[in-house]
Amino acid sequence: MNTAASALTLNRLDPGESGTILSLEAGEELHQRLVALGLRIGDRVRLLRRARFGGPLHIRVGMTELIMRRREASRIHLAFEHPAD
């Protein structure tokens, strides 16, 4: 029942997976918007689905569901616990 932790960005999650926010690598404007929408360091984010053809991601953090483009998601660094196998 080992769980290995590793770091990756939000856009690399697979649908259904979640991770804990380590850092937001964003300019002031995007940073403010992300925090206002509930993406704060230490929060758990879950990737619900991706849109087809390279479209946006559908994520959930706390009681809020968001859509964001992959470029923005690549700025969000997560600690990811690999599911135990």
């Binding site: 403010q32 849109a51 946006p56 559908h58 569901e65």
Partner: protein
């Protein structure tokens, strides 16, 4: 008069609360130094009249978006006696940021936690009194949509307004930590709270395979609903207006001098009936958009269409509006208000007039029937739709760098909600009033102007070559004859500037023929190459006066409105020229 401002994050039901408090009496108004219109209404609280102003939804007081600037400017410049801070009761924890920022300003606050119905369904419990005592401000739990708890708001506002008269030294304001602690101890969120129904619906509506086909199906139904219900009402109104004219107004005004009668009937009255003819479409459109938006599907559309639309500098919501433009450009332009980023909104507004609307379709059907055989007719019409889409794509590609979407693409995906009839009717009513107030003067003036051009000097036959319009047609001949558009057709284009619905009627006046005789007269005087060139020009140049009036009132920018006239005109000229010259070479 005291003034109360409403501030809150987007998707908190702030406007619903505003409507709940004010009913149908709100006014859209201009404020000095602000780029957007604000809704405001007078309200009686206790024994005094106060003004309630609905500010745009914002995430942050220190933010960079247009809306955030509007709110900070308003709070700094205008006299504000009380701020209603509206937050979503199920998202109190994250939305407290805004409250904390507002607390730094020296303003009296009342905190409203809206959508308690949803919070309760999620198992969230909130101790309003505990929260109020920890924050040091009144807290009201309510559901603006269903009205539950709204009755506490009046006394709370009354008390807060009275307190501001003799404000004591304010109690120490809780800092960020204090707020967090206050929320933690007063708001209980179960660990597994989630919108189960929304998740189930999303699994179908956002399915990787089914999502897009369902989206197009929904859009098709919406389109049918708006235009196949709105159109007969529009036609019935047009019939009513012309019956009133021939049955009552014409006999009543028969004694007046010719010029005055023409001014009143062909100018003012026709202008007013033009404005009125848009009312059913606007009501239907906003009724349907209200359903789509309030139900939460518009952000799903953004999710589904973004991959494609991002290439054109647009997003999924722009797509919905451009699509609706194929019915009528005017409500589609008004609908762009859901787009918060100004760059994205202006780009969408520049693209929408390229959509081949139902009024232009009438002109095309007439010309195609006159000059093309039944076998190629559908192909000709299809080619026009294709060119409409291509022009829209070209426009967005060319201007996407100028009107950049500067908002980060991070949108909230609200849970599915049942819109209420009251909400949607109020919305339709507000929009119609807005359109009538803003567009009437502009449209009536335009119609009067065209009437003057096509009826004067008095010695000339109406719509004939000797009128001012005919002289302009003659003057423009060097510019338009390379497109195969002769002076007679030019007069029709001048009429078409007012509304495409009157182009055929104006041709009847210009050619002095009616019905079948007009069809054959046109078929004799121009060939199919000229006709197609004329249709291309009609398709792309200024859709109508109402569209321009709407662009101008919605964008509040003269430069942008001029661009929205000049660019399509230039493009229409180039496309028609290219077609006409090439086709002439080929056809001989």
């Amino acid at each position: 008069m005291k003034r109360i401002a409403m501030v809150g994050m987007p998707n908190t039901g702030k406007s619903t609360l505003f409507n709940r408090l004010t009913g149908a009496h709100a006014n859209v108004g201009n404020w000095p130094g602000l780029t957007v219109d604000l809704l405001s209404a007078k309200l009686i609280i206790g024994d005094q009249m106060v003004q309630l102003v609905d500010l745009p939804g914002i995430y942050d007081l220190n933010g960079y978006s247009e809306d955030e600037k509007v709110v900070t400017t308003f709070l700094a410049q205008e006299q504000v006696d009380l701020v209603l801070v509206v937050l979503n009761a199920s998202q109190v924890e994250r939305q407290m940021v805004l409250l904390q920022q507002l607390m730094q300003l020296d303003l009296a606050l009342v905190l409203v936690l809206n959508m308690v119905d949803e919070a309760a369904a999620l198992g969230i419990t909130i101790d309003a009194q505990g929260l109020a005592s920890k924050l040091g401000i009144p807290v009201c739990l309510l559901s603006a949509k269903y009205g539950q708890g709204v009755e506490q708001l009046h006394p709370a506002m009354h008390k807060a307004l009275r307190a501001t008269k003799s404000r004591d030294a304010p109690a120490a304001k809780p800092g960020a930590r204090g707020l967090e602690a206050a929320v933690k101890s007063s708001v209980f969120v179960p660990a597994q709270a989630s919108h189960a129904l929304t998740e189930r619906i999303d699994r179908i509506l956002l399915d990787p395979w089914l999502g897009l086909p369902i989206f197009f199906g929904v859009m098709f139904l919406l389109f049918e609903l708006v235009f196949f219900l709105g159109k007969p009402i529009q036609d019935a109104m047009a019939w009513g207006f012309s019956a009133l004219r021939s049955g009552a107004l014409e006999p009543a005004l028969a004694g007046l001098p010719f010029a005055l009668r023409g001014f009143l009937l062909d100018g003012v009255y026709n202008g007013l009936s033009t404005v009125a003819s848009f009312v059913p479409l606007i009501v239907m459109f906003f009724f349907c958009m209200g359903i789509v938006e309030d139900a939460g599907y518009l952000s799903r559309a953004a999710f589904l269409m973004d991959a494609l639309m991002a290439r054109f500098g647009l997003d999924g919501r722009s797509f919905v509006m451009v699509l609706m433009g194929f019915g009528c450009n005017v409500p589609a332009l008004m609908g762009t208000r859901v787009i918060r980023s100004r760059g994205l909104r202006l780009l969408t507004m520049l693209v929408i007039p390229m959509s081949l609307c139902s009024a232009r379709l009438q002109v095309f059907v007439f010309f195609i029937a006159a000059l093309f055989s039944a076998t190629v007719a559908p192909l000709v019409l299809f080619s026009l739709y294709l060119i409409s889409i291509l022009s829209a794509m070209l426009t967005s590609l060319l201007f996407k760098r100028r009107y950049v979407n500067n908002d980060p693409f991070v949108l909230e995906m609200p849970p599915y909600r049942l819109p209420t009839l009251r909400q949607m009717l109020l919305r339709g009513w507000h929009e119609v009033r807005h359109f009538i107030r803003r567009a009437t003067r502009f449209i009536v003036l335009g119609v009067v102007l065209v009437w003057l051009l096509t009826n004067f000097p008095a010695s000339a036959a109406a719509g004939g070559p000797n009128t001012w319009a005919g002289q302009i047609g003659e003057l423009l001949n060097p510019v338009l004859s390379p497109l195969g558009i002769d002076p007679k057709l030019t007069i029709a284009l001048i009429f078409g500037f007012v509304a495409k619905e009157i182009v055929i009627g104006s041709l009847a006046v210009i050619y002095g023929q009616d019905g079948g005789a007009l069809t054959s007269a046109i078929a004799h005087q121009i060939d199919w190459v000229q006709a197609y060139s004329f249709m291309l020009f009609t398709l792309i140049y200024t859709p109508c006066l109402s569209t321009i009036a709407t662009i101008s009132t919605e964008s509040k920018s003269r430069a942008f409105s001029l661009l929205a006239i000049a660019w399509p005109l230039g493009l229409a000229w180039c496309v028609s020229l290219l077609f006409y010259q090439v086709a002439r070479q080929l056809a001989g």
